[in-house]
């Protein structure tokens, strides 16, 4: 028990150290989650558009190369 509370206290600097690690984790994991969610919604959007115009699909793969 003593060991755990010593570890959390970090020699009296616990609040600085844990805030630093905590916010870094929130920012990096948050960015990852946001990016994954963006990929998922955009993929769904493109699939919906493709489903909407099955006739134009083939012609479109042609000009994408030039467009991107």
């Amino acid at each position: 028990m003593q060991m755990i509370s010593d570890f959390i206290a970090m020699g009296g600097y616990g609040r600085f150290i844990w805030t630093a690690y905590g916010t870094a984790a929130i920012v990096l994991i948050g960015l990852l989650i946001i990016s994954l969610r963006e990929l998922r919604t955009t993929t769904a959007e493109v699939e919906a558009l493709e489903a909407n115009s099955p006739r134009r699909r083939r012609t479109h793969t042609g000009d994408e190369d030039a467009a991107t």
Binding site: L49, S53, E64
Partner: protein, 244 residues
């Protein structure tokens, strides 16, 4: 050869192959690095346990500079050779770099308070890193400021290239001016001035962060390509509807 990857299908295939090689080692290195940083590295003889902030602060600072450099290079490639993926990669990298710079500033502040007695000083190192943060934000804002995406791309690329002057200023600010910030102790001519028990977790975190950046960059580039595709497709559908 690089031109081949301008094709979205080829890029996606390459990204799919590379992704696990970035993502898994990134996770493993960061977790192991955290274990050493928090449990299995010695406290500093002067700074006590606050030195543990270094394992996040320093790799985040390196990444802030590394990502900006990569962004400036892709912007230049985009402007000069008009490689279609170059601007896309700069655009995808900017938010990641901004996040690393934010982490660097915040953890630095949390380290400064107990060790220097202040959250912030307007000295060369701290101010130049704050400017770097604003350069990232400015780049993202410029990208979205124009109706014509090509103009936004160009303006943002020019900002990224001009702003690159700030990178060496940050690096050498601790040598050129008197600052509260300590000079470099890892990347220097005479070799690192840090014991290996601190150097190993530092490198693990740094390589982990770099791989995390690689994985996230591929993922965000893929999203941006899909956004463009969706844009092109909905435009085409509108034209078609108008024609009918």
């Amino acid at each position: 050869m690089i031109q081949q990857y301008a094709n979205p299908a080829r890029f996606n295939r390459l990204a799919k192959t590379l992704m696990p090689w970035f993502a898994w080692p990134a996770g493993i290195l960061i977790v192991t690095g955290l274990y050493f940083a928090l449990f299995n590295s010695p406290p500093d003889y002067q700074q006590g346990d606050t030195v543990r902030i270094m394992y996040v602060h320093v790799p985040a600072a390196w990444m802030a500079l590394f990502v900006y450099t990569s962004m400036a290079i892709s912007s230049a490639v985009g402007l000069i050779w008009k490689h279609p993926l170059a601007h896309l990669s700069a655009q995808a990298a900017a938010p990641i770099g901004a996040c690393f710079t934010f982490i660097c500033l915040l953890t630095g502040s949390l380290w400064g308070k107990p060790m220097w007695g202040t959250w912030w000083v307007w000295d060369a190192r701290l101010t130049s890193v704050l400017i770097l943060f604003f350069l990232y934000l400015g780049f993202m804002a410029l990208h979205n400021a124009f109706d014509d995406p090509a103009r936004g791309e160009r303006s943002a690329a020019i900002l990224a290239i001009i702003g690159f002057i700030n990178v060496p200023i940050i690096k050498f600010s601790v040598d050129w001016w008197n600052t509260l910030h300590q000079p470099a102790s890892v990347v220097k001519m005479s070799g690192p001035a840090i014991h290996s028990s601190m150097l190993y977790p530092l490198f693990m975190m740094a390589i982990g962060f770099t791989l995390y950046f690689g994985a996230l960059l591929l993922l965000r580039m893929k999203t941006l390509m899909l956004v463009r595709r969706a844009c092109g497709m909905s435009m085409a559908q509108l034209h078609q509807q108008a024609a009918e």
